[in-house]
């Protein structure tokens, strides 16, 4: 068994600045050895600990999909010391990546079902991984209809703009509804908060599954809308964030009740969360 504290070495191949404020960057990393690339087997919704020697380590959802072989991508907002150091990286720099960690989206439960993917802001990362996985030609037939609602404060904040607008918007195997909080010049898509847009564009369903990621306030107001549309708690999934260190259920800080977000999560159904203390 591999030492769970030992990271893979990965090289920064590309850095995309996602927002005009420049506080959001997506890093495209490649494995230094082919063997590492083969060993790193993940599913959408899992995360990894990225480390910079001398600075530290922090957990990030994996934004790439397993079909994107040999590389991983992560979108990182600059908030603390490690994310600050990540934002200083240049092409060719080496970082450590430890993972894959966590449970990931419940792919098997999603098979055969219509899916409603709801994201807000920069929490769209592992949802992007999931959608990318689903639209992979060999996987697409395993899933029903896919509706995506992705909201942001303004057009500048949208992650993966090029892919979303040039590819996803033009596909006929998914429906994507991009929305911004307030009208903006030249914006030709939805306007309004995620809960309102969800209520407008998503059809009521007795068996579809919703996957929701976003700021707490967005989740708070989206849940009642989903309930109204017929989604029961066991058909709504979300991915939680917590301060983490080890990522393997040992260091003790990311628990909610007896569940460790790092190991038992980060993906939980609302039915599971309803049974846990609201300490997150």
């Amino acid at each position: 068994m591999k030492n769970p504290y030992q990271p893979y070495e990965m090289k920064v191949e590309e850095i995309i600045t996602e927002s005009p404020e420049k506080d959001l960057k997506t890093f495209y990393l490649s494995f230094v050895t082919d063997q590492d690339a083969d060993n790193f087997n993940y599913i959408p919704g899992q995360f990894a600990e990225i480390s910079i020697l001398g600075i530290g380590e922090a957990p990030f959802g994996i934004a790439s999909a397993p079909c994107e072989k040999g590389m991983l991508s992560f979108s990182v907002k600059k908030v603390g010391s490690l994310t600050g150091a990540l934002h200083e990286l240049e092409k060719g720099d080496i970082v450590g990546v430890r993972g894959p960690l966590g449970n990931g989206w419940p792919i098997n439960q999603l098979k055969g079902k219509d899916l409603v993917v709801i994201g807000g802001g920069f929490a769209f990362t592992t949802l992007r991984s999931l959608v990318k996985y689903i639209i992979e030609p060999k996987n697409r037939q395993d899933f029903g209809n896919v509706d995506i609602v992705y909201g942001n404060r303004n057009p500048g904040q949208i992650l993966y703009k090029k892919e979303l607008i040039e590819d996803w918007m033009n596909r006929d195997d998914i429906n994507i509804y991009l929305t911004i909080d307030k009208p903006s010049e030249g914006w030709k898509y939805q306007v309004g908060f995620v809960p309102q847009v969800t209520e407008k564009v998503i059809k009521p369903s007795q068996n579809a599954i919703a996957l929701v990621c976003g700021p707490p306030v967005m989740i708070k107001f989206t849940l009642p809308v989903l309930k109204k549309l017929g989604f029961t708690s066991d058909r709504i999934y979300t991915s939680l964030e917590m301060k983490m260190k080890c990522g393997i259920g040992m260091c003790g800080r990311c628990n909610i009740g007896s569940k460790y977000v790092c190991k038992d999560g980060p993906v939980f159904s609302m039915a599971e969360l309803e049974k846990l203390p609201s300490e997150y």
């Binding site: 530290g56 040992m250 260091c251 628990n255």
Partner: protein
């Protein structure tokens, strides 16, 4: 498994033999009390030995430990390597049964089904646990069973000035092979059994069912009122296993004990803290030991060693906390606290 009887001299000789091929650690008296250190190869712990100051987790999960070493080389990829994990055989002699049982609890964490901590595992698999039963409980002790065999390879009970040696595992048996000691006779075994049967009753630590119902109870706020969040209870607890991982900037990634009693423990980079005050933190500590841990591993994460009772600077006694929780539901007992 077998039981033997030994005189003090024989026990010394046996340990001296073990010390030829293993590092024997034993309680050694230092300025402030006993601590596990390399055995002097001649003495046994004195009658004043109650327990060590620090719990034995330190010997398996040290307070500071280098997980990785790294070297940044200009123009090249950095070197990251795992330091040598010690492989020498060790014997821990004189550990108390309460502490020995704490190791079994920690095994759940560090040697789980999904992940194994290689540093902890190496030390666990190289160490023979020879525990020494206490004659009486100390004033802060509340272990359930003075004679608990959990976590021990060999359990030693002092009976009438001699030592009754109970072999509990194959590893223990192997360490006893070829020793010409006498098998314990029925009389002495019976005497030990009587000691086991006639222990005084201690506090019942099972508050699982009560905890299920009181997550939002005001008792947590009352209980934490005098707590200063110093964290000494968690550092001295043999079953507390929380840690932090930091880069020391000099080429080491270090793991250090951390504590759920500290605000920084759960504070996120955004500033959000799911456990913002002492109330949530004390609740976490108690819920973890008596509810979350039992829910996951079917065992209470408190062995009753009493270190937290003894060293708490504000006399927040976990035994009273347990009692208060047990009696807390009705309004009357709430106002009496």
């Amino acid at each position: 498994m077998s039981k033997y009887i030994m005189f003090g001299e024989e026990l010394l000789q046996w340990l001296q033999n073990l010390a030829k091929e293993s590092k024997v650690l034993a309680p050694v008296k230092e300025e402030y009390g006993y601590t596990f250190a390399e055995w002097d190869k001649k003495s046994l712990p004195g009658d004043d030995y109650r327990n060590t100051l620090k719990p034995p987790k330190d010997l398996f999960f040290p307070q500071h430990e280098t997980l990785l070493k790294y070297e940044k080389i200009k123009g090249e990829n950095p070197l990251v390597e795992v330091p040598d994990i010690p492989e020498d055989k060790r014997v821990i002699f004189g550990i108390r049964p309460c502490d020995a049982s704490s190791l079994v609890l920690l095994d759940n964490i560090f040697m789980g089904e999904d992940y194994v901590d290689p540093y902890y595992e190496a030390r666990r698999s190289n160490t023979l646990i020879v525990s020494l039963v206490c004659r009486t409980r100390g004033k802060s002790c509340f272990c359930e069973d003075l004679f608990s065999t959990k976590g021990s390879d060999i359990l030693i009970i002092k009976v009438d000035g001699n030592y009754l040696v109970e072999i509990l595992t194959y590893r223990g048996e192997a360490a006893f092979k070829g020793i010409g000691s006498k098998e314990a006779d029925e009389k002495i075994v019976k005497k030990a059994d009587k000691l086991k049967r006639t222990q005084e009753e201690v506090l019942d630590k099972d508050i699982f069912e009560k905890l299920r119902t009181i997550y939002d109870n005001p008792i947590w706020k009352q209980l934490q009122e005098k707590c200063v969040n110093c964290g000494v209870c968690t550092f001295l607890c043999p079953t507390c296993h929380c840690f932090d991982i930091t880069d020391d900037k000099r080429g080491k990634k270090v793991r250090s004990w951390d504590s759920c009693m500290f605000a920084s423990f759960t504070k996120q980079a955004s500033g959000h803290n799911p456990r913002p005050t002492g109330t949530e933190r004390l609740r976490q500590r108690i819920m973890h030991k008596f509810y979350y841990f039992p829910e996951k591993y079917h065992d209470i994460a408190c062995v009753g060693c009493g270190r937290c009772v003894e060293k708490c600077p504000v006399n927040l006694d976990i035994r009273q906390v347990i009692e208060k929780i047990r009696g807390c539901l009705d309004e009357k007992s709430l106002s009496a606290i």
